[in-house]
Amino acid sequence: MNSFIDVKNLTKVYSSTGEEFPSVVLNDLSLQVSKGRSVGLIGPSGSGKSTLLNIISGLDDPTSGEVWVDENQVHQLSPIEAASFRNQTIGFIFQAHHLLPALTAHQNVMVPALAGHGKMSADESRDRANQLLEQVGLSERANHMPSQLSGGERQRVAVARALINQPKVLLADEPTGALDKKNADSLMDMLIKLNEEFECTMLVVTHSQEQANRLDEVWSFQDGKLSAIIP
């Protein structure tokens, strides 16, 4: 099977001054994900789930190992290529929504389209932002500031923002972590629906086994390595 995401022997070590033993977060980890698959990553706090997503998206560098996404070796890309990769290939949903406080919900969704890597025109991106907000059920709240939205609404804006450039990979780092069960279920429904609709490969980090079980594959983190859990 041809892997869309191929993580080979990935190791990430954090060493800080004064500490005798460095902390090994990812230890010779490998992972292959086929195109269009949705993958749940579960594990205890500090097990390296978010670190893996950050390394896959190019937000962080590995200590050793390789990461291939859509035939790009992520950490060999030049800064400009890396920026384009993050913009066009990856859609990232953070646990904290990271909405820009000075922009409306609609403007926040448009932000990735303004980086100038894609071919989408301004009108197209505006229409797409409207469409995405409608899809996440926030068309009525498009002109609200983040401070005027609830936690669930903010996270849904962040989802819409992640999808504006039609990314091939959607990385979600505990997207439901700060939400109550109802909102968490609703958001996960939406992610699964979007995954099916846009056929994008999706990696979701979550604490919730129940949420993870709704995805195609579930992997568990243990001592810096992954082990597959068949749902």
Binding site: F92, F94, P101, A102
Partner: protein, 1107 residues
């Protein structure tokens, strides 16, 4: 744990921000304390100079109108009620020139003081006094340096021979000034502590004085005075120890003052029991005549005058006809038993038998009389008047050798002549003197050959010095009584003796000069403001960072008051630290500024060397004020935190954009809508008013400029605020408004705009040399040179007489105009003098020659002619002198004393626009001579015309003996402009420092913003923005601060200059303005690039992980 522990922990935790705040406050404190100590130093230096100049002298009696006997000093000392500790020294003061015998060294315009040992007793250190038993010269330190001669070298000192009375007056003696010269060795320098720098005037120019023994000076100087009279004259009495005696000193002087001191005497005539009241100055003043006649109404006035010729009418004007040359004629009051009987017809003349025989005339014949009267500028006007012979008097009595006729006062150059050939009367001898005239002179001296009525005589020969030459008194008793009563009634002031409270004047002069504390405070105000703004900004940052802490404390039950206490204590400690650092820096600032003032900025302090002498009071005051200002500033910034509820503070952390969309913010935004048009309307009104009225350019610049700044900043505020609130911005500008902190942006724009505005202003008002220096309607008045002489010249240089007298080249003079000025000395009120001038020099100008010269802000030269009140004279003044040195307005008055000690006022009527006339007041020559009738001649000349350089060289050569000094008007203007330009340089330097601080402030704001918004940057990086893209984005976002700051400042400067440019485009350079703006833009741009590189060195994606 006490609350102090929290405060201490907070201080420790935020030490970096607090140090930044303290450093900015230190800057403000440095400016404040430093400026005050600079003022202290200037005042202290001036006071030290003043103390050196005046020694222990408290009062000075000055005889501006002649001389008194120097034993007046002894008489004053023994006056009842005078305290024992009072010391008095008589001095002869004159102006002269000194040169080496070979002529290689030459110094003119020097003060010559004849002194004895009493002079040095008035010094701080009399042990440093020179040995006055030696005959020679000593010099003041400055003159010693200038001369650079060794002790023992011979020098020639020349002063004008004192005249009994004004050389402008008729019969005052030889027309050419006479000099007294001494060829003596130079004996050394008089130490400053021994009054080596003594001077009557508070001037920035160091005293250039020659000291010589009083007796040596007196013995040689007063040779024209009566040989019978003592020569111990003086014209200054210096008094030490007279504190508290100002009101009584003049009364004491009046008690010891004698008629002799006033030059008056009751002379015993040869006629039996007849006496005559006479003056050393020949003419008795109207005041003396009036007073004497009030005392004794029986006094008979007489007026004796020298006429050129008496003869038959047909003989006058015919050189070959028979006439009597040069005779005395006396006007007397007709009376029963007198020479002229009552009812004497004014058209009749009585002649003596000698004249009748000589002219072969008899009663009823017509006789003509030819005589000179003196016009303006000592012009001799010849007149002829005819009389009918009404009486022939018997032959006069012969006059014993060495004696004079009872009718004739002692005329200088005449009375002492052994024969007619020695006559030196000041009038040209045009008639041949016959041998019988010599015989008459030998036998009868100045006995009048004719008598006319007093009224007729006064009509013909009356002048401003007096209309009577003697008052006849019948009997010794009456003479004694008259003398006694005159002494009691007449005030020494009437004879020109003025009392100056010298010590007070010196204190006043140094107490109210240019206040350098104020000056540097205003120059450094922008730096101070920038320092305070930055400190508030940084303190605000540190508070914002601790929003959560404050919210937490409040939610834990701390009262708002307690939380405020914690914040205030922190602010207090930070302020204290900043203030203490600032006090330390103030020493460097003060010393640095003084070093600049003693070097590159020397023009601002007239090259005076100033020593740093801070006063403890100033340091305490400055430190207290800066501490308070800083504290108010920091406490003001904490008020923002108090607006939020605890939960908001906990939730928002350092990040609170909600306020921008709050209703109160929107209300502020809407309220600002009306501010802008109001400011613009006010601005247009201001421009129109400034263009049509005579508002000083600097005032209009600042008023208009600040209105534009205000309106501009409101506009910029609305621009930023609207952008943030505008949710329909086009996509390309969407990311430019991520920074919602309008206040910070406005602070940045404001600092930059104010700095730019001030520097534009300072640059635009820099004075350059006018290109049209030859225009009469300009700052030069069309004059090219100023010539000043140490000794006065009496004649109109353009007249034929003067050309003959001084051997002037007609051809050279034909191309120039020479305007002579009469000068009454005073304290220079130009910007070259740091002292406070209460009575500037008063010049008498010939109005006719000044018409159509200079530009006037108010009135013109003709306004000086109008004078209804003799004690209120209209004067012209330079605009800068009026505004800045004297701090007066049009219509204000300044008091002066005339030569009789009577107070009169001059009213500032005409105001000349910025010119070389700075420093003095100008009244019409006609009014001037009325007030100072006995001060003859001119000592300043303004030259205009073509080929002036050659003419000036010629005049300097011709007037060598008068000690001429020449200066071009252009260089005089440069001197004056240098002062103003130096002030502007200081202003620009400190303004530049302020702009640098402003730029630093913007840099801090940008770095801080980037740090605060690192999550935004990280997010943008995470969604695909590259680092260069983010740099570009931040650059675009912040370039607007620089753009609006520069544009607002430049626009404010330019619009502020509109009235000035409309009136006069000269000196305004759009190129320098553009280059300045360009330079500032580049500096700001570089700062921006540095700030962005510092604040965003790499994509801060890791911060997303911090979650």
């Amino acid at each position: 744990m006490s609350i102090w522990r929290i405060i201490f922990a907070n201080l420790k935790h935020s030490r970096r921000q607090h140090l930044g705040t303290s450093l900015c406050l230190a800057l403000a404190s440095m400016i404040l304390v430093g400026s005050l100590t600079i003022g202290d130093s200037v005042r202290n230096t001036l006071w030290q100079k003043a103390a050196e100049r005046i020694g222990m002298i408290t009062h000075v009696f000055v005889s501006s109108d002649g001389y008194f006997h120097s034993d007046l000093a002894d008489r004053l000392l023994v006056t009842e009620d005078l305290p024992k500790e009072v010391m008095v020294a008589p001095v002869v003061m004159a102006t002269g020139t000194i040169a080496s015998p070979d002529g290689k060294l030459h110094a003119s315009g020097i003060t010559v003081l004849g002194i004895d040992e009493r002079f040095f007793q008035l010094a701080w250190d009399s042990t440093m006094s020179p040995d006055l038993t030696k005959l020679g010269f000593w010099a003041s330190p400055e003159l010693a340096r200038e001369l650079g001669v060794e002790q023992g070298s011979r020098l020639i000192l020349r002063v004008e021979e004192p005249s009994l009375f004004s050389r402008d007056a008729p019969l005052s003696g030889e027309r050419d000034a006479r000099f007294v010269s001494w060829n003596r060795p130079y004996l050394g320098e008089v130490n400053p502590s021994a009054l080596g720098n003594f001077s009557l005037q508070a001037s920035m120019e160091p005293a250039r004085t020659i000291f010589m023994p009083l007796s040596m000076m007196q013995n040689d100087m007063f040779i024209t005075f009566s040989p019978d009279e003592r020569k111990d004259f003086a014209n200054l009495l210096l008094v030490a120890g007279g504190e508290g005696l100002t009101d009584s000193l003049m009364a004491m002087m009046k008690r010891c003052w004698t008629l002799k001191d006033a030059g008056l005497e009751t002379k015993k005539l040869r006629a039996v029991d007849r006496w005559n009241l006479r003056s050393r100055k020949v003419f008795l003043s109207d005041k003396v005549v009036h007073t004497a006649r009030q005392i004794d109404p029986t006094l008979e006035a007489e007026f004796t005058y020298l006429v050129n010729a008496i003869g038959k009418p047909e003989a006058i004007g015919d050189g070959n006809a028979s006439l009597i040359p040069y005779s005395m004629v006396t006007g007397v009051e007709p009376k029963k038993g007198g020479i002229l009987e009552p009812e004497w017809h004014e058209g009749k003349m009585a002649i003596n038998q000698w004249a009748a025989i000589d002219l072969n005339i008899s009663l009823g014949d017509l006789i003509s009389m030819e005589y000179f009267v003196v016009g303006d500028r000592r012009e001799l006007i010849e007149k002829t008047t005819s009389f009918e012979v009404g009486k022939i008097l018997p032959m006069p009595e012969k006059i014993p050798k060495g004696d004079e006729s009872d009718w004739t006062p002692r005329f200088p150059g005449l009375s002492d002549a052994d024969n007619c050939g020695e006559w030196d009367t000041g009038i040209p001898i045009k008639h041949k003197i016959r041998s019988k005239d010599e015989s008459y002179w030998d036998d009868y001296r100045g006995t009048p050959k004719a008598f006319i009525s007093l009224t007729r005589a006064q009509e013909m020969w009356g002048n401003r010095w007096g209309n009577v030459t003697g008052l006849r008194i019948n009997g010794r008793e009456r003479a004694n009584e008259l003398g006694k009563q005159l002494r009691n009634i007449l005030d020494p002031r009437t004879f020109g003796l003025r009392l100056i409270h010298f010590e007070k004047k010196a204190i006043d002069a140094v107490s109210g000069p240019v206040d350098f504390s104020q000056l540097f405070l205003s120059f450094g105000f922008f730096v101070l403001l920038a320092g305070l703004s930055l400190s508030a900004l940084i303190f605000g940052f540190s508070l914002e960072q601790r929003n959560r802490q404050v919210g937490m404390l409040l939610s834990l039950g701390y009262t708002l008051r307690k939380v405020n206490f914690i914040t205030s204590m922190e602010a207090g400690v930070v302020c204290l630290l900043g203030t203490l650092m600032g006090v330390g820096w103030a020493w460097f600032f003060g010393s640095g500024v003084l070093w600049m003032l003693n070097n590159a900025w020397g023009s601002a302090v007239a090259k005076l060397t100033i020593y740093y002498a801070p006063r403890l009071e100033s340091i305490v005051l400055g430190a207290g004020a800066s501490f308070l200002m800083g504290l108010i500033c920091l406490l003001w910034i904490t008020r923002k935190q108090r607006k939020y509820r605890p939960v908001e503070l906990i939730q928002s952390g350092a990040y609170n954009p909600n306020s921008l969309h709050s209703e109160s913010f929107k209300k502020r935004l809407y309220r600002s809508i009306w501010i802008e048009p109001v400011a613009w309307v006010a601005l247009i009104c201001m421009i129109l008013t400034s263009s049509t009225s005579k508002v000083p350019p600097s005032v209009s610049f600042f008023c208009i400029g600040f209105l534009v700044l205000f309106a501009g900043l409101v506009r910029v505020f609305r621009y930023f605020a609207n952008n943030i609130n505008n949710r329909r911005l086009r996509d390309r500008n969407l990311l430019l408004n991520l920074d919602y902190r309008t206040g910070r942006k406005i602070t940045g724009v404001g600092i930059l705009a104010v700095g730019t505005f001030l520097i534009v202003g300072a640059g635009a008002f820099r004075k350059s040399q006018s290109e049209n220096t030859l225009l009469t309607r300009s700052e030069t008045g069309g004059f090219t040179h100023i010539i000043k002489t140490s000794l006065p010249l009496y004649d109109d240089l353009m007249s034929e007489n003067a050309r003959d007298l001084y051997d002037l080249n007609d051809e050279l003079l034909s191309d120039v105009t020479v305007v002579p000025l009469r000068t009454q000395a005073g304290d220079d009120a130009s910007c070259l003098n740091l002292h406070n001038s209460s009575s500037p020099p008063l010049y008498g100008v010939p109005i006719l020659q000044m018409e159509k010269r200079f530009n006037f802000v108010e009135g013109n030269w003709s306004a000086l002619k109008k004078s209804d009140n003799t004690d209120l004279l209209p004067a012209a003044i330079d605009h800068n002198t009026m505004l800045w040195s004297l701090k007066k307005n049009v219509g204000d008055r300044i008091s002066y004393l005339d030569s009789e000690g009577q107070e009169f006022e001059v009213k500032l009527t005409a105001v000349v626009e910025g010119s070389f006339l700075q420093g003095g007041l100008y009244i019409s020559e006609k009014n001037w001579v009325k007030k100072y009738p006995n001060q003859g001649g001119y000592q300043e000349f303004w030259i205009s015309g073509s080929r002036v350089d050659r003419t000036v060289d010629h005049l300097l050569d011709r007037f060598f003996n008068y000690g001429p000094r020449s200066q071009t008007v252009v260089s005089r203007l440069e001197q004056l402009k240098n002062v103003e330009n130096t002030y502007l340089s200081i202003f620009q330097a400190l303004g530049g420092l302020g702009v640098l601080l402003g730029t630093l402030g913007i840099l801090i704001i940008i770095v801080r913003n980037l740090w605060e918004r690192r999550h935004e940057q990280a997010l943008l990086g995470a969604v695909g923005f590259s680092l260069p893209q983010l740099h570009k984005l931040v650059m675009r976002e912040n370039a607007r601060i620089i753009f609006w700051g520069l544009i607002t400042g430049l626009m404010a400067g330019l619009v502020g200059l509109i009235p000035t440019i409309l009136e006069n485009t000269e000196g305004f350079s759009i190129i320098s303005l553009t280059s300045f703006g360009g330079g500032l833009f580049i500096l700001s741009y570089i700062s921006l690039v540095i700030a962005i590189r510092m604040g965003l060195p790499k994509l801060p994606i890791n911060t997303l992980r911090d979650e």
